[in-house]
């Protein structure tokens, strides 16, 4: 006999009740997805073009104000969107509470760290170019 044998179905269905949250996350995920619809094609097109030249050409391209701004926006939208998506994957696939909590925190830290790294790299090129 398991410890759950006397739990009623209603108790299970009600669980801890509604968290009264989730809508904000839903909106954020959709809005970041809309941004990425425009930013990702621009990013892919630009990267393919940048690959045709050498590293100096790529730095000159990244130092142009609009390119730098769009690069930072792309990274921001992508890592923001990725954090939400990865959170769902972790919640679905990791059973142990401790491991799950640790991975959820790591997910947030990793996405923020990746964004800061990209943003600072672009700013360094931009500022370094003296624009």
């Amino acid at each position: 006999m398991s410890s759950h044998d006397f739990i009623t179905p209603a108790k299970m269905a009600r669980g801890l009740g509604s968290a009264k949250s989730g809508t904000e996350t839903h909106i954020r995920q959709r809005v970041s997805a809309i941004a990425l619809i425009f930013l990702v094609p621009w990013f892919v097109y630009s990267i393919i073009n940048a690959m045709s030249g050498d590293i100096v050409d790529a730095q000159v391209w990244a130092a142009k104000p609009w390119n730098a701004i769009l690069l930072i926006l792309t990274a921001g939208a992508a890592f923001f969107h990725m954090r939400i998506g990865m959170q769902v994957v972790i919640e679905d696939y990791i059973a142990k509470t401790g491991t799950k909590s640790a991975l959820l925190i790591l997910n947030s830290f990793a996405c923020i760290a990746l964004f800061v790294t990209v943003a600072l790299s672009v700013l360094k090129i931009w500022i370094g170019a003296g624009v």
């Binding site: 209603a10 269905a13 968290a19 009264k20 989730g22 809508t23 839903h26 909106i27 679905d92």
Partner: protein, 260 residues
């Protein structure tokens, strides 16, 4: 939570092959999931040969043929035999549906497998334990809730408002959609599933219901509602042609509407 392997004792093994009916010329092979808690052991796939000239036209007829002519111990639920009660929902040739309206002409070629609805405990053979499914349905309080005192005769509704309920009220609670949903497989203890959410939306948009806000409050949860990832298995398998995924999307739209 994702479970990539079946729990211990749940993996079906090769079972018995029942003899072919004598004198039959139009035979079809069926592999049917068998499990009996009294007998213990793992479930098994039994093989049956069915005389299609004598079996009728629907999968439910096949099951009756087997039960009446081959193996009387085969257990399955059925009642209305016309797609109204939802009792005979099961997994036929890899797809959840109801056996009474699934015709032979819709089946793929080769051996046909018949199994109970996935992801639920099995009571016996093709009979799943839908206790949790019904409790989740009860959670959405699928009935009219009002604060205005009851009118003398009836709650009235315009024809246009009544039309809004089309495509929602027809659900027969067969559980085909809910048990076909991977999100429900992984999070069936927290996610309400497509059938319950379809009914939730049916009452959310009922012009007579006065508990819309409270209903949305009860649903607003990262798991109860937002675990739907629009996989669309629900709409693909619904034997009544309903679209629970669309109803869930509309609930999400209502959630967004009230915060923006």
């Amino acid at each position: 939570m994702v479970q990539l392997t079946l729990p211990k004792g749940s993996a079906p093994k090769k079972g018995k092959t029942w003899p072919k009916p004598q004198g039959a010329t139009n035979l079809r092979q069926f592999r049917i999931y068998r499990y009996s808690p009294e007998e213990g052991g793992n479930p098994r796939w039994d093989t049956y040969w069915v005389d299609m000239d004598r079996a009728g036209t629907m999968i439910l007829d096949v099951l009756f043929y087997i039960k009446n002519n081959v193996d009387p111990t085969l257990a399955f639920r059925r009642s209305c035999r016309e797609g109204v009660c939802g009792s005979c929902a099961m997994n036929i040739a890899g797809q959840n549906t109801i056996a009474c309206t699934k015709g032979f002409d819709e089946l793929p070629g080769g051996v046909i497998t018949i199994a109970p609805l996935p992801s639920q405990p099995v009571v016996k053979d093709l009979i799943p334990d839908l206790t949790s499914f019904y409790a989740q349905h009860a959670y959405v309080q699928p009935y009219l809730k009002t604060v205005t005192p009851d009118p003398e005769k009836e709650w009235k509704q315009s024809e246009e408002d009544r039309e809004e309920l089309n495509g929602l009220y027809e659900c027969i609670l067969c559980a085909s959609c809910t048990t076909s949903c991977p999100s429900y497989w992984w999070n069936g203890d927290k996610y309400l599933g497509p059938a319950a959410l379809l009914q939730a939306y049916r009452w959310l948009i009922d012009s007579r219901d006065e508990a819309t806000g409270e209903r949305l409050d009860d649903l607003e949860d990262p798991f109860k509602l937002y675990r739907c990832h629009t996989i669309m298995n629900c709409a693909q398998v619904c034997p009544k042609g309903l679209n629970p995924a669309k109803a869930i999307a509309k609930i999400k739209h209502m959630m967004v509407e009230r915060v923006s």
